[in-house]
């Protein structure tokens, strides 16, 4: 600061008006302070932008009625309508045979299905951008016997705001979305959600 003052008085030989230098110095100080405040504000803003993961999308659906769907299973043997499942907890898993995190989460999904299939929890899978032969091979390899539903033109996935695989929605007995997980689910995480919903419905 003292350097600036020296520089300021040095570059302005204001012999005629001694107040001019003082005014200039004060003005210069104000300008510097303004620039400093501006730069810090911008830094904070940019830092905030950097700290946010642009791929994380907050769900707009949690707490709202789950979009209805009525879909055939991949083999065409069965039709599943969400409306028919009112009163039960529904776990909807969007996945794909080509998706690695889906493979990672599959054991957890399988364990959950085995634990809750007889206690009012319905599991359905909706493969995304997949072939039925690949889906069949995947299920045969990794196990699980919940309905895998064909979603023509991904209409249901789009209605659920899905942007990748895997994504898992837990729908409460009242038909509203209670929980949404983007990416591989964990066993404990979903157990907590399911237990809470089962408790609430008693």
């Amino acid at each position: 600061m003292s350097d600036e003052r020296d520089a300021a008085s040095g570059s302005h030989p204001s012999v005629l008006d001694p107040t001019a230098g003082r005014h200039r110095r004060r003005r210069r100080g104000l300008t510097l302070a303004g620039v400093a405040v501006g730069i810090s504000l911008l830094t904070v803003l940019l830092g905030f932008g950097l700290s946010r993961d642009p791929t994380v999308i907050r769900s707009a659906l949690v707490g709202r009625p789950a979009p209805e769907f009525a879909l055939q299973t991949m083999d065409g043997s069965q039709a599943v309508r969400l409306a028919d499942l009112r009163g039960q907890v529904v776990v909807v898993n969007f996945w794909a045979s080509w998706c690695l995190p889906c493979r990672v989460e599959h054991p957890a999904l399988l364990a959950l299905w085995q634990r809750y299939r007889d206690s009012g929890v319905v599991f359905v899978g909706i493969p995304l951008w997949d072939r039925s032969s690949a889906v069949r091979a995947y299920v045969e390899e990794l196990g699980g016997d919940w309905p895998e539903l064909a979603d023509p033109a991904s209409g249901t996935a789009i209605a659920y705001g899905v942007y990748g695989a895997p994504e898992t929605f837990v729908i409460g007995p009242d038909g509203s979305v209670a929980y949404r997980r983007v990416g591989a689910i964990g066993y404990e995480e979903l157990t907590g959600q399911i237990e809470r919903l089962l408790e609430g419905s008693k």
């Binding site: 005629l16 008006d17 001019a20 999308i57 769900s59 707009a60 709202r64 033109a153 705001g161």
Partner: protein, 173 residues
Amino acid sequence: MTGPRAPGRVSVGAAILALSLLAGAAALTVVAFRGPARTSSLQDRVHGVASTLRCPVCQNLSVADSPSRLAQQMRGTIAAELKAGRTPEQIRAEFVGAYGEWILLSPPKHGIDLVAWAGPALMVLGGLVVAGVALRRWTAGKGEEAGEALSQTDRGLLEQALSKIPDETEEVR
């Protein structure tokens, strides 16, 4: 040397610059307000909706511009809904319902998102103010120096001192 002629030349140059800038701005304004030619084929209407939606699996691409499978299917969904008689606004609202306001490429005009709308205008205003102040100071400085060069006599000193007074009061204000 070029003292008396310089201001005249500068202002002619400035006038030409200002005129060309004005002409450019006017042309851009006309284009911006007229927008692309209006057509109402289904494809154009789909494009109209899709170009306002963000492709969920891309970085900074609209549903209209993305070649991804999901964006392709979203365009299909939009086409089906338009055919069913829904308005672009209704369709956008549905996408917002599923994906949140994140899906909209332009931020909503309320809350904190207003900053994105007002910010640029405020910055232009701020820039104009700064430019104006800088210009004033610059021209004032020139006069001062010229005064000093001529101030061999007391009369010159007096003129300089007098010319400073309104300047100072304005700066303090």
